[in-house]
Amino acid sequence: MINLKNISKKFNTKQGTIIAVEDVNLDIKKGEIFGIIGYSGAGKSTLIRLLNGLEKPTSGQIIVNSEDITKINEVKLRQVRQKVSMIFQHFNILWSRTVAENIAFPLEIAGVPKDQRLTRVNELIELVGLEGRGHYYPSQLSGGQKQRVGIARALANRPEVLLCDEATSALDPETTDSILDLLVSINAKLGLTIVLITHEMQVIQKICGRVAVMEKGRVVEEGKVLEVFQNPQQPITKRFVSQVNDTNKAQQTILHLKELYPNGKLIKLKFVGEQTEQPILSRLIKQFDLEVNIVQGNISHTQNGAFGTLILQLEGDALLVDEAIRYIHEQKVITEVINND
C-alpha cells in the first residue's frame, strides 16, 4: 500500500542543514494499523507529511497505491490527497464553519454535488457519533468531539489511507480511548489503512498491529507490536515499552512483596498471546484445595494479543502447591517461583 524506499529529508536553515529523516525504508500493508513512535524531534512529523506530499523528500521513493508520489505533478498530487487523508493533533477544523459544513469541505473540494454532499455528511455524522450536532460550531464542542469532526472530514471522500498526526495527544486519557476505539472500528468497517505517529506507547499498544520506532530521523526498530513489547531491542524501545509495562518498578515491588507475604509461595506467571484468554485462575482454584491470593497483576492488550504478568500467593499443603505449579506449567504459562527463603 505504502512503500518508502531510502527516504531522506533535509531542511536548510540559517543554522545549517538539519536532517529530519534519514534513509527510512518502510512497507505498510493494506488494511493494517501501523504506528510510528518517537520523541519530539525524532522526525516522525516530517515522515508522516511525506506520505501525502505536504513535504517533499530530498531523496528516495514514496510509493502510495503503486504510484510514486514524489514524481507526480500538483494536479495529480491533489487527487492523491483526497484518497490519503489526515487528522491532526489540534484538529485543525475551521471555526467559521459548522460541524456539517466542516465535514462537507473536502466534498466541496472534490466537486461533489450539493444533494450528495448532504447525504454523505449525514452518514459521516452518524459514523463518528455526532448525531444532532451538525449545526454546532467548533467552539461549542469538546476536544474529543472536535477530533470526531476531524475524523469524519478525513473520511468524507472515502480515502484508502488515514494519516494520524498525534491525533490523541491533546486529549485526556478517557477521550483518547474513545477516539482510539473509533479508529479501530473504522479500520475494521472500512478496511482502510491507518498510519499514526505518536509519542505514547499506550496508543501503539492499544490499536497498532505493527510499529516502527524512530530516533534521530532513523527507524531503529520495527516489527509486530506484541513482539516488540515482549522483546524490545534498542534502549529507546525499552524506554517506550516501560511506559506501559514498568519492569524496574516490578522488581522493586517483588522485594517488597516478599516481606508483605511471608507465608506460602509467591509465583509469577507470564502470559503471552492466547493463554491470557484462558480462565487459568478459576481452574486452578477448582482443582486444588489451596488459598489463592492475587498479589499483583498487569495485563496489556495489543491488537495481536495480550501479554502480562500475574503474581499469586499460594497457601496450603506444600505438595499441593508444587502440584499446582506443575499444572500451570502444563498450561504453557511461563512460571517463576519467587522463593520465600
Binding site: L54, V80, S85, L94, S96, F105, E108, I109, P138, L163
Partner: protein, 222 residues
C-alpha cells in the same frame, strides 16, 4: 429655536453636503476594500512558505504599500492631480476625490488584511492542503472566512479614516461636509457652520463603528 442657535446654517445645503460625504465614504470604502484585499492577499501569498512564495513579487507589493501608506494624505491629493484629471476629467466634485482616497487608504487596509491573514491558524491551512484544496479554494473558503472578523473590523477602521480623508479632500474642492466647514464656516468666520458639520461627521463615525462592531460580533463564531 434651532435657527437662533445656528443662525448661519443653511440646512438644505448642509444635508446635501452630508449626502456627498456619505457618497464619497461609501464608494471609496468599497473600492478600498477590494483593492486592499487583493494587495493584502498578494502580500500574504507571496511571502515565504506560502502558495505563491516569491521574493521579488513580495518585495514589490510591500514597497508599493509602504510608499503610499507613508505619504501624508494632503500631499497625496496634490501629487495625484494629473492622474485624477486623466481618470475623472475634473478636479472638482465628489468623484474627483476617489483616486486619492482609494490610493491613500487601500495600502493601509492591505496591511490590516495581511495581519488578519497571518492570524489564521497554520494548521487549518495545512489541513485544507492535505484535503487536496487548490489555492483558489484556500483563498475563498479558508483565508477569507477564517479572517472575516478581522477583515470587517479593519474595514471599519479604514472607513472611519476615509471620513476624515473626505473632509481633507473637501478643502481642495471635493465637496461634502469638509468643503462646507472650510469655505462656508472657517473662511467666512461662521463658527456655527463648522460646529454643525463637525457634529454630523462625528455621528457618521459613530454609526460606522456601531455597524462594524455588530457585524464583527455576529460573524465571529470562535
Amino acid at each position: 429655536m434651532i435657527n437662533d442657535l445656528f443662525p448661519n446654517v443653511d440646512w438644505p445645503k448642509m444635508w446635501e453636503a452630508t449626502l456627498e460625504t456619505l457618497y464619497m465614504t461609501a464608494v471609496s470604502t468599497i473600492l478600498t476594500a477590494i483593492i486592499g484585499l487583493v494587495l493584502g492577499l498578494l502580500l500574504f501569498l507571496t511571502s515565504p512558505h506560502q502558495a505563491w512564495a516569491n521574493k521579488l513579487a513580495n518585495w514589490l507589493t510591500g514597497a508599493f504599500v509602504n510608499i503610499f501608506r507613508s505619504i501624508p494624505f494632503i500631499i497625496l491629493i496634490i501629487l495625484l492631480i494629473p492622474l485624477t484629471k486623466l481618470l475623472v476629467g475634473t478636479m472638482r466634485g465628489p468623484n474627483a476625490a476617489f483616486p486619492a482616497l482609494v490610493i491613500g487608504a487601500a495600502p493601509f487596509y492591505a496591511r490590516m488584511v495581511l495581519i488578519a491573514l497571518r492570524e489564521i491558524d497554520k494548521g487549518v491551512l495545512e489541513a485544507a492542503k492535505s484535503m487536496g484544496a487548490k489555492t483558489s479554494t484556500i483563498i475563498w473558503k479558508v483565508l477569507m472566512p477564517e479572517s472575516m472578523p478581522a477583515l470587517v473590523s479593519g474595514i471599519t477602521v479604514t472607513a472611519i479614516s476615509l471620513v476624515g480623508y473626505t473632509a481633507m479632500a473637501g478643502i481642495i474642492g471635493a465637496g461634502g461636509l469638509g468643503t462646507l466647514a472650510f469655505l462656508d464656516g472657517f473662511q467666512r468666520g461662521r463658527t456655527d457652520v463648522t460646529f454643525v458639520a463637525t457634529i454630523l461627521i462625528l455621528i457618521m463615525v459613530f454609526i460606522i463603528q456601531w455597524i462594524g462592531d455588530i457585524i464583527t460580533t455576529k460573524i465571529d463564531k470562535r
